[in-house]
């Protein structure tokens, strides 16, 4: 094991430089599983550990990353009315997506992991893996045009107040990634309100508005020009009649008809629509969800009951039929918005979800029902899953309490 010895040689002193040592330890245990053996208790241990668990979730998100990055570019060119085919202008769409996506991804991790490392050094424990998943989720649920400083402040808020204040990975009450997003949406409503935030790369979202290209686009332009490809056209403007509205915003105004005027069901299913970066493509999310279910990492109880809850609520709305949004057929609700993303990756967070199996059924069903309620009734905020999940995160201990209480009563009543 020559490599191990090499790594061991550069190990910083724990006392003199705790932060360096923590960082070293994090990277060392990332490269090598430690040589610790079992002591007392069981003599053999399952091959599964928290790193593997977390990394499998991150792997399940990768298709969303690929598609999300590309879709940023696709939506941008859709707004200016160029390259209407999904694969037309491939290099430009990918380039624009990367220009928007990479800073979001990098800053999320620099800020989030920095805080994790700092707290771990301060508290003298190993860096825990929780932020691997939070850090992978946060970029996917942000609007593509989010200012980087707002993103950073939201990550600071979520990691420090949402997680470290409670004691770190495994101790938090609310889903860390959703806290970051809820912070953005309630702390900076003016800069990210309405329909404008969902398409990136313009000075504003209105017909005739100019594109907003920076130095990175110029770098790509010189590269593409050298390769004899199309380049970014800085004189392009947003096409007439373009609103940048998401299906949900349209549905609120005019029901299913207003949605289908702009988008086809296929658009919404495959995800070539504006929205948060990673939540638009349903099939790719479902592939990730299937992966989590097959490996048993995510709870099928939560996913299934959430679908049932949303369908139940949608069905009630259809029967009630008071507004245009209410009359949207219940099964079309699954095509719009981020239901599947919330179901597969947000609600199933084991730390913040209900921890008993019975509790998980209730928890998932309530999220499904409540999320749809918010979606349909709340004019200020078009999507309900974030709030529903955070609310049920808060309620999860209460749900568990009643489940446990009934188990305890069974035992005590025989006493």
């Amino acid at each position: 094991m020559g490599l191990v010895d090499l790594f061991k040689k550069i190990e910083p002193d724990k006392k003199n430089s705790p932060f360096l040592h923590t960082a070293y330890d994090a990277f060392f245990t990332f490269a090598f599983t430690p040589n610790t053996t079992t002591k007392g208790g069981v003599h053999i241990r399952d091959g599964m550990d928290l790193k593997r668990t977390m990394v499998f979730v991150v792997i399940a998100l990768q298709l969303c990353y690929l598609f999300g990055t590309y879709n940023i570019g696709h939506q941008h060119f859709d707004a200016v009315g160029m390259y209407p085919g999904f694969l037309e202008g491939f290099h430009l769409k990918l380039g624009h997506g990367l220009i928007k996506m990479l800073p979001i991804f990098i800053w999320t991790h620099v800020v989030g992991l920095g805080i994790e490392f700092w707290f771990a050094a301060k508290k003298g424990h190993a860096v825990e893996e929780g932020f691997l998943v939070s850090g992978a989720l946060i970029p996917l649920i942000m609007p593509p045009d989010i200012p980087i400083w707002i993103l950073c402040v939201s990550v600071v808020f979520a990691v420090i107040l949402g997680k470290e204040a409670f004691g770190g990975t495994g101790m938090n009450i609310w889903n860390v990634a959703l806290l970051a997003r809820v912070f953005v949406f309630f702390a900076y409503p003016t800069s990210i309100s309405g329909d404008g935030a969902w398409v990136a790369g313009f000075t504003e979202i209105a017909p005739g508005a100019a594109v907003d290209y920076g130095w990175a686009h110029n770098v790509f332009n010189s590269l593409f020009g050298w390769m004899n490809l199309d380049t970014f056209n800085s004189t392009a403007v947003i096409a007439d009649g373009y609103s940048g509205a998401t299906p949900l915003a349209l549905a609120y105004q005019g029901g299913w008809e207003a949605v289908t005027e702009q988008f086809t069901v296929a658009h919404m299913w495959w995800g070539t629509i504006p929205g948060s970066i990673g939540e638009t493509s349903k099939p790719l999310i479902l592939i990730g969800a299937a992966m989590l279910l097959l490996t048993g990492i995510a709870s099928w109880r939560i996913m299934l009951s959430m679908v049932l809850g949303a369908a139940f609520m949608g069905y009630i709305f259809n029967a009630w039929d008071a507004t245009a949004f209410m009359s949207v057929p219940w099964y079309y609700h699954f095509y719009m918005g981020s239901f599947f993303f919330a179901m597969a990756f947000m609600a199933t967070d084991p730390v913040t979800a209900a921890s008993t199996n019975t509790g998980k059924w209730i928890y998932g069903f309530m999220i499904g029902a409540l999320g749809l309620l918010i979606r349909v009734f709340n004019p200020a905020y078009p999507e309900g899953w974030m709030l529903a999940i955070l609310f049920l995160n808060t309620m999860a201990p209460l749900i568990d309490h009643f489940v446990l209480e009934s188990n305890m009563k069974k035992r005590l009543s025989h006493a």
Partner: protein
């Protein structure tokens, strides 16, 4: 159209209510006649489990059959064959630490260098001097080994070639409970009787609600009870008769109801017991799990448990009048050159048992008992009365490059992220590496999958960690022993030490009691 739908719904509702009322009437009538509805399904609706039940073997009593769906077997390499050889063991040891519930410094009655017979008292616990702890063999007491704080760790006996037994005056089975109980205490078999809650040596003052014996072991590499019971049928039945004198309740046998594992004839023909059948993966063979499904421990009740080996000692004592702990020991695990079953007595020296059998190319861990709930053998240690197997596996103190992402070697796991489901019958070569670091509880529902009891293990563990005694009790700590949560500890993603947490909790409960 709408009206038609409404009419259909109303008709269906009426039909459903008629069915449900008649179903209720049947139940009420059954209760009036005093029929136990929990055992027999008297409802007009069949239960789901009845509709989809797999066929049970013909010798199984269906009304006392429990199919456990939770739990997992762990298949390891180093399974012993079926031949049994006599072990050549010269030294035997008795370890006071084997007997949970006694003080660390018991009163030793014999001196170093003195000769003892098999069945002669060696020491007793000062809190209950009537319970004797006796020598399993005849020979010379060569060493009284001391451990930390002058506690007594081993009493080592150099065994005679020809074993001599102390002759006991056996009371007849018609004598009173007190007489039989005091004879069991004086003859050294009492410490084999354990009580739940707490899994400690039974208190002779208490009369147990019931007595439970698990007649099969589902732990990794465990040996089959047919080897243990061969040619011992009279001893077994005699012991059952003795136990029936000790309790006003019942003696329950937990039998192997898995397809293709017909229990030994002795068990099928046993009298004076209520037989329950269990089918399922580990820990279906744990007596704690069986108690939970037969007659759970509630309130202040205590129950007793025994192992088959101990029953045979009691049976022989009452039949012949000697303390004979002859038993079958499995020498198992991937580090054993030729895994084998040997016949010896309780307390055999580990180094004698392993002589020439251990693969010493790499460092091994010698485990007394199985890999899940056994203990690490000390230097020059002895297989105490608790265990009927030794497992030797590799030590795992190595680094593994990206071991958490791409495991290079196959390893047992319950996680779907490993392709283990493709190799259902593969026997894994294991080592003691933890495969990860200790973390806080993150995953949920993991423990429940491998504990076939109506208990929330994770919440119980948290209750123990904060020392909430009432909550611990309400969540069912009294029904558990370490071996029951061992499988959950194995599968724990956060590498939590569940068994030692549970033991802390049980000790807290015992102090309170």
């Amino acid at each position: 159209m709408l009206i038609a739908a409404l009419i259909i719904i109303v008709v269906l509702l009426v039909l459903a209510s008629v069915f449900s009322i008649s179903d209720n009437l049947i139940q009420i009538e059954a209760q009036k006649q005093g029929i136990d509805t929990s055992k027999k399904n008297l409802s007009i609706y069949p239960k789901l489990s009845e509709l989809f039940a797999k066929p049970t073997p013909p010798y199984v009593d269906k009304s006392r059959f429990h199919r456990l769906t939770k739990g997992r077997d762990i298949l390891l390499s180093g399974m012993p064959g079926t031949t049994i050889v006599d072990a050549e063991v010269s030294r035997f040891g008795v370890k006071p630490t084997d007997f949970r519930g006694i003080a660390p410094i018991p009163k030793v009655e014999v001196e170093e260098g003195s000769e003892v017979l098999a069945g002669d008292a060696l020491f007793f616990d000062k809190s209950n001097p009537n319970i004797k702890y006796v020598s399993p063999v005849s020979g010379e007491l060569v060493e009284i080994r001391r451990g930390a704080k002058r506690s007594i760790s081993h009493l080592v006996i150099l065994a005679d070639r020809e074993q001599q037994y102390k002759k006991f005056d056996v009371p007849s089975l018609h004598s009173s409970r007190e007489e039989i109980s005091s004879f069991l205490q004086a003859s050294g078999v009492w410490p084999m009787i354990l009580q739940r809650p707490f899994d400690v040596i039974a208190d002779p003052e208490n009369s147990p609600e019931n007595i439970f014996i698990s007649c099969f072991d589902t732990a990794p590499l465990a040996i089959g009870s047919q080897f243990i019971l061969n040619e011992r049928s009279e001893d077994f039945q005699m012991a059952i008769d003795v136990l029936n004198k000790l309790t006003d309740g019942k003696v329950y046998l937990g039998l192997d109801g898995r397809e293709g594992n017909q229990p030994h004839d002795v068990l099928l023909k046993a009298k004076g017991v209520e037989k329950h059948w269990f089918a399922g993966q580990h820990p279906a063979g744990n007596v704690g799990v069986q108690i939970h499904h037969i007659a759970p421990i509630r309130g202040n009740a205590t129950v007793w448990t025994l192992k088959i080996e101990d029953l045979l000692v009691i049976g022989k004592l009452f039949r012949v009048g000697i303390f004979d702990t002859t038993r079958i020991i499995g020498i198992t695990g991937g580090q054993i050159i030729e895994p084998i079953l040997v016949r010896t007595k309780a307390g055999a020296s580990v180094s004698d048992l392993l002589k020439g059998r251990l693969n010493d190319d790499v460092e091994s861990r010698i485990i007394l008992g199985n890999v899940l709930s056994g203990e690490t053998s000390g230097e020059d240690d002895f297989l105490g009365v608790k265990y009927n197997m030794i497992t030797a596996i590799k030590e795992g103190d190595y680094y593994e490059l990206f071991g958490w992402l791409l495991p290079i070697k196959p390893r047992p796991s319950f996680s779907g992220t490993f392709p283990n489901f493709l190799f259902k019958n593969h026997r894994f070569e294991v080592d003691t590496n933890t495969h990860g670091e200790l973390r806080a509880f993150v995953m949920t529902g993991q423990y429940e999958k491998v504990l076939p009891m109506d208990i929330y293990p994770q919440h119980l563990m948290k209750a123990i960690m904060i020392g909430d005694i009432e909550r611990m009790e309400a969540l069912g700590i009294n029904e558990l022993s370490e071996e029951d949560v061992a499988l959950a500890e194995f599968s724990c993603t956060s590498k939590m030490p569940l068994q030692s947490i549970l033991r802390d909790g049980l000790e807290m409960m015992r102090e309170q009691a």
